[in-house]
């Protein structure tokens, strides 16, 4: 099949998946809309859909809403990082689901640095984020080494680690680090020089972290497609036996992919912490790890597409929260929408008949071209 045709196919397929997800969403919104008559329900559903689809970009009275769009961009920061982390790990066929715990641990360690490390401005945020990332990298050594040395499922191991991280962070926060003068459970405030500066001062928390995230998209894309190690990671994902027989250090590369995933997730947590908050107060897993998996699936495990997928998810997320504010539809609808899109995107056989048709069409055209080419020179001789 020609490149153009397969591109068309993947676009049609993606749109179909999104369309199905939105249809499911519409149905659910309709069910939870209030109204005595059918007409009222329909109009409620429509206004809720308007918030979901157009709300994040445009104001209610028309005109582009910079604040909402900045919110969307700001929300992309952590999920770009977890998305990249998942891309790297899934590319090596390592179903490590520890980005969830990783981002929490990274955020926590970075927060500790930001509170207690006596470092000057400029150095502190960088050092804090790097230390947080390194901590998660070390954490990911556990599932990675157990997988390589003992064949323990990295999936189960990383899932368990998520809970261990959550409870330990909660314990440290509750018993040792909480600022007792505050009403809620949270740490002391970060030192003022630790904050990552904002790009735009409109309260949307769009910090320089966004730029850092985009830089890392480029770095990871180059790493995956232009370096020996990136090639090894992808090759192990495609065919581990082939990689082994061709002399790649499979074990080392598996460890590398998971540690790299950990570093990225931890970095995302740290940047999110310093860019958005002034103290640490997460007591539950933030969910960015799971969203990161959706992002990676939408991006087809290709780092370059991660920002677009992250934008899409962040946009829908913002839409859902607007919808819950204005239209009484619970914002957790996003989880259902995500799951549906996710399922259809990952479905290899989804629309396979359509692909079949395209393949047949291409082949027929190629055959025609071939026969006409073969016929031509004969004709010219005669």
């Amino acid at each position: 099949m020609s490149k153009k045709r397969s591109l068309i196919f993947s676009i049609v397929r993606g749109l179909a998946a999104i369309f199905i997800a939105l249809a499911v969403a519409t149905l659910l919104i309709f069910i939870c809309s209030e109204g005595a008559t059918l007409g009222e329900k329909v109009s409620q559903t429509l206004s809720a859909l308007r918030q979901l689809l157009i709300g994040p970009a445009f104001k209610n009275k028309g005109g582009i809403s910079t604040k909402n769009l900045c919110d969307v961009l700001a929300a992309m920061i952590p999920i770009i990082f977890t998305g990249l982390a998942t891309c790297v790990m899934f590319s090596a066929n390592q179903f490590n689901l520890g980005a969830e715990g990783g981002i929490m641990l990274g955020a926590f360690i970075t927060a500790l640095m930001a509170i207690y490390a006596p470092l000057p401005a400029g150095v502190l945020p960088v050092a804090a984020v790097l230390v947080g990332a390194a901590a998660v990298g070390v954490m990911m050594l556990i599932p990675a080494l157990l997988k390589v040395k003992l064949g323990v499922s990295e999936m189960v191991c990383s899932l368990m680690l998520n809970y261990v991280v959550m409870y330990l962070v909660k314990y440290l926060l509750n018993s040792h680090l909480a600022d007792k003068s505050k009403g809620q459970i949270m740490t002391h405030d970060f030192q003022s020089q630790s904050a990552i500066p904002q790009l735009i001062q409109n309260g949307s928390k769009l910090s320089w972290g966004f730029i850092v995230a985009l830089i890392f998209v480029v770095i990871i894309a180059l790493f995956m497609y232009r370096t020996r190690w990136g090639y090894a990671i992808r090759m192990i994902g495609i065919n581990q036996d082939f990689a082994m027989y061709s002399g790649m250090k499979v074990g080392a590369v598996i460890v590398l992919s998971q540690v790299l995933g950990g570093l990225l997730a931890g970095m995302g947590g740290g940047i999110e912490m310093l860019g958005r908050y002034t103290n640490y107060s997460w007591t539950a897993l933030p969910g960015y790890g799971w969203t990161g998996i959706t992002v990676a699936i939408l991006a087809g495990n290709n780092p370059i597409f991660v920002p677009f997928a992250a934008f899409f998810i962040a946009y829908l997320n913002k839409g859902c929260s607007l919808m819950s504010t204005y239209c009484n539809v619970p914002s957790q609808l996003i989880d259902i929408i995500q799951a549906v899109i996710f399922l259809f995107f990952a479905a290899e056989q989804f629309l396979s008949r359509y692909r079949q048709k395209l393949v047949v069409k291409s082949t027929q055209e190629e055959l025609k071209l071939k026969t006409s080419r073969e016929a031509e020179p004969e004709g010219s001789v005669k």
Binding site: L150, L161, A284, Q332, I336, A346
Partner: protein
Amino acid sequence: MLKLIFTSDFFFSILRITAPILFATLGAVVGEKAGVSNIGLEGTMMISALFGSLTAYWSGSWSVGVLVAVVIGILVALLMGFFAFNLKTDIILTGIAVNMVGSGGTLFLVKVITQMTEGKAMASTTSLITKNLQVPSWDIPILKNIPILGDVLSGHCILTYLAFLLVFLTWVLLYKTPLGLNIRSVGENPNAASSVGVSVIRIKYIAIGFSGAMAGFGGAFMSMYYAMGWSQDMVSGRGFIALAAQAMGAGEPLGAMLSALVFGFAQALGIKISSTGTDSNLVSPIPYLVTILGLVVFALVARWKVKRQHSAAALKEAAK
């Protein structure tokens, strides 16, 4: 200290805590035997727990609640099967999607169905399940009068008995029935199975449906006995622990039951320790850590066994 911990009450709680993990573990065992890694057990349990508790409230009968929980579990599993087997979505990703619905989607549903708004920080159905809607307990006639043993084994929820009974039934299903043979053959070599006329996809659907039913029982146990109603993230990783128990039990019902009991023990111990005044957040990770340790020990033992077999074979060769 030890005397304080190891009371008959403590051993009773081990069985109670193990039951939901055991249900999910049996689901994982049968799924894995057919070559289906159902990591959506966690989410399936959440969804079943929600609908079970809601229907119990509406119908005023716990049995209807349990039944609906199981049916919902099966339906979710079959839907997973449709995506995994017919549309060829990776089964792991399918499971992740179900878990997404299980953690966030259920909260959406509970808010919509019960009309509880965002104002309440945590929507739940805790207020709906009352004492008479709980799955009832049962005293085993003669056994309950025996000291200690009676205190530990008798007076459990009937679902707890069912969980342990199902260990035996699952073993019978897998090893004493034609269906079990088909399940195992599909898991071991689908091509060989299909060459002798076994419908691989049908067997896989049956296996995943079974695991869904088990998750349904587990969910019903969680929301209608273990806790009085559904609340967010109440399953808290039991579905994942079940996967580990399956691996540690070498995929056999009995072994998986023993591993599930280890986790039940770890968690019961944690609860006991936290009741002495330790921060519960410090002891809560114990079952999860035990899971990782358990997997490591299991892997080491398996490796040692293989080594021993190899050396035994080599010795035999040499003797010839």
